[in-house]
Symmetry: C2
Subunit: 429 residues, 2 copies
Amino acid sequence: MRTRPLKVALLGCGVVGSQVVRLMTTHADDLAARIGAPLELAGVAVRRPDRVRDGIDPSLVTTDAEGLVTRGDIDVVVEVIGGVEPARTLIGRAFEHGAGVVTANKALLAQDGPALHAAAAEHGADLYYEAAVAGAIPLLRPLRESLAGDKVNRVLGIVNGTTNFILDRMESTGAGYGEALDEATALGYAEADPTADVEGFDAAAKAAILAGIAFHTRVRLDDVHREGIAEVTAADIASARRMGCTVKLLAICERAEDGRSVTARVHPAMIPLSHPLASVKGAYNAVFVEADSAGRLMFYGPGAGGAPTASAVLGDLVAVCRNKLGGGRGPGESAYSRLPVSPMGEVVTRYHISLDVVDKPGVLAQCAMVFADHGVSIDTVRQTGKDGEASLVVVTHRAPDAALSATVEALRGLDTVHDVASIMRVEGE
Amino acid sequence: MRTRPLKVALLGCGVVGSQVVRLMTTHADDLAARIGAPLELAGVAVRRPDRVRDGIDPSLVTTDAEGLVTRGDIDVVVEVIGGVEPARTLIGRAFEHGAGVVTANKALLAQDGPALHAAAAEHGADLYYEAAVAGAIPLLRPLRESLAGDKVNRVLGIVNGTTNFILDRMESTGAGYGEALDEATALGYAEADPTADVEGFDAAAKAAILAGIAFHTRVRLDDVHREGIAEVTAADIASARRMGCTVKLLAICERAEDGRSVTARVHPAMIPLSHPLASVKGAYNAVFVEADSAGRLMFYGPGAGGAPTASAVLGDLVAVCRNKLGGGRGPGESAYSRLPVSPMGEVVTRYHISLDVVDKPGVLAQCAMVFADHGVSIDTVRQTGKDGEASLVVVTHRAPDAALSATVEALRGLDTVHDVASIMRVEGE
Ligand SMILES: NC(=O)c1ccc[n+]([C@@H]2O[C@H](COP(=O)([O-])OP(=O)(O)OC[C@H]3O[C@@H](n4cnc5c(N)ncnc54)[C@H](OP(=O)(O)O)[C@@H]3O)[C@@H](O)[C@H]2O)c1
Ligand SMILES: NC(=O)c1ccc[n+]([C@@H]2O[C@H](COP(=O)([O-])OP(=O)(O)OC[C@H]3O[C@@H](n4cnc5c(N)ncnc54)[C@H](OP(=O)(O)O)[C@@H]3O)[C@@H](O)[C@H]2O)c1
């Protein structure tokens, strides 16, 4: 074992960063044995230097993150500040100064992944980010490395714990969205401003990262179709239940059947209770991967939290340090496929549609004709009526999303349709 | 991209080997892009050279495996012959001649892992074997690499598809063991000689490999306590059902609570229906991993079959090739912990025991005293009686296996106990 330590600069020391320090300290001997050299915490950059930070030598704490990263002797930079700036600039400086980088920053990667990878490659440095998607669950490494000899066709996952917790509460207590969100906030599962989670931005960033890795192509955040859970009602969840389904916010990355394009999207969807993702409760995450030869794989575990996320960061840290010592580099960006990302309209999916209609003969036939006119085939239709009002619940077969949404538009235009009460996609079959 | 190809020697071209060739052929361009150089199949060693092998140039086929491995220009050897010899000797020769090795051979690794790792290290070569445990499921790489910064405390898995299929049939049809085994054989899920599977040898080899990697220590096949499923009865499965459990053949690797030793074992056990492993059906595999910081992770997928296993082999092949090109080496054996492996008697577990007893007052008290005398605390006891015969079903709290088995011995010695009808451990809580 080498005795000269590898120097680690930690940028950010909040929920995740403080756990990174704890693991580096309590597992110091194990880490040294696994890496082949001890680790030394060379500095910790924060915003508020005067806060008391357990287990951290105050002389290591600085507000000069740039100075820390560029001081010349840093082997690896761990970025757990979050957000785009100053994280992006600091990571760039780290590469320029010969350091490898480990980050948990999904927002930055989804927005600027290609530029970051290019900078890493230019300087022969590593860029690892397992913690950015699905917290502690080993997912990016299996996709990048274990499945490197296979062809991934589909990634389907629950990658946001906050929304999964909220939907789970709505399901188990019958609560509405607002009430379940309040509960999540009170219990610390939702942030004071829950927008990034409930509007699906967080899941969309992860979908972009996953699609890029799974399909060896570049997928930008803007390429990801995004719908949040704020519109999901207790009635939707009850309808899902009636058809043997549950509602989950899913991130779905798919290769088109002809293999010539890919899609990435985040939206609430009904999935059958028999699907393994249906039983993923609370703040857990799980990701289904379908590959040509490997078949259907699932990865399950805690999707967030200080310690789980730090575990993923440390796994990357060990890899980057081992690469440094061996003089090599881990796999960089793999985007050779250059597949176009198709818009949502080209995604092939199924709809579950509830209509409030006039209760008179012929309405069902009239609605069915609208589906047929748009080339959408109906799987099941259920009609219930009372007091001159009827409700029609239609589940379609698979059709392009554009045809499905055009069908809904046309239904809205019918005199006999009072309201399209809910629309939800059906996945996982 | 380098244009000179990396040369691959394939040893064995059966269920797995033929799929390795298929993937190398159909995914040639993808593999070249991911590795940074094309792959060339340099030779295929088999036993019966005259068999027709689809998609393989007959001039590549040879019975001289040794000559192939030692010809001097081979970059990577893929060993999918199976068994100990000649696989062991051939792998040794491969290292001597500078080749990296990818193998799916759990039997060889469980028996001779340390010697193989030492030979690989001596020659600066790679030894990868993801396919040896749980087929297509990325499991060894996550354990070795993703969790390298964490402390794994427990691995609990269904790692043999044949026995899982049989237990699943017994559960869903009420069939006995023999009948379910016949069905598995007829459907191709069990081999003509099913001993390695049903007696737990296959799972024990995998448990030894998993424990070694999870705990950074050496665990030999002989260190693994092993019980098969041949004794599991329809009555056991019915009792499990009554207590909200199902029966699975589990491979369990645990770190002792004081952290100073480890255990590895394979045996049928009852697990609660609410446990994620309970819903793993048919020939699927799934492995639960509990780590200090990451928490509870699960990996799920096809545990065997030509294409899934070949997918895992190819993932390793890409890694070994990348390491070759980069001039580096992947992680070797990590056995620095040198923890002793404790015998089964020291494992702390729970028992479910069915006793046929004389139906007279005081028998329950007498039996309870036997448990108490051995320091085993009872969780629940259920007594049912008819016609002078009674049955007593006892579920214990956690206790050392030695105390539990001594309790059973003492119960057998009681006049009032006609028979210990069944004993099964209870896990997963
Ligand atoms: N929390 C999770 O469960 C989780 C899970 C997966 C991924 N992540 C990702 O991990 C990253 C960190 O998340 P977190 O939850 O640990 O965030 P956090 O608790 O808000 O911590 C952020 C840290 O960065 C420091 N900081 C902020 N601005 C800075 C600046 N300009 N210069 C230097 N330091 C600065 C803060 O300093 P002060 O301490 O002085 O405020 C704080 O220590 C994010 O990218 C997040 O998406 C988090
Ligand atoms: N099958 C699975 O689902 C699976 C899953 C995980 C791991 N594995 C492992 O993968 C390995 C291969 O399994 P498999 O199912 O592919 O076995 P298999 O179908 O029996 O194939 C064995 C191959 O090895 C060749 N062979 C046997 N003895 C040889 C010798 N002395 N020299 C050269 N070639 C020889 C055979 O030649 P012929 O073709 O001429 O008979 C055959 O091509 C085993 O270690 C197994 O444990 C298999």
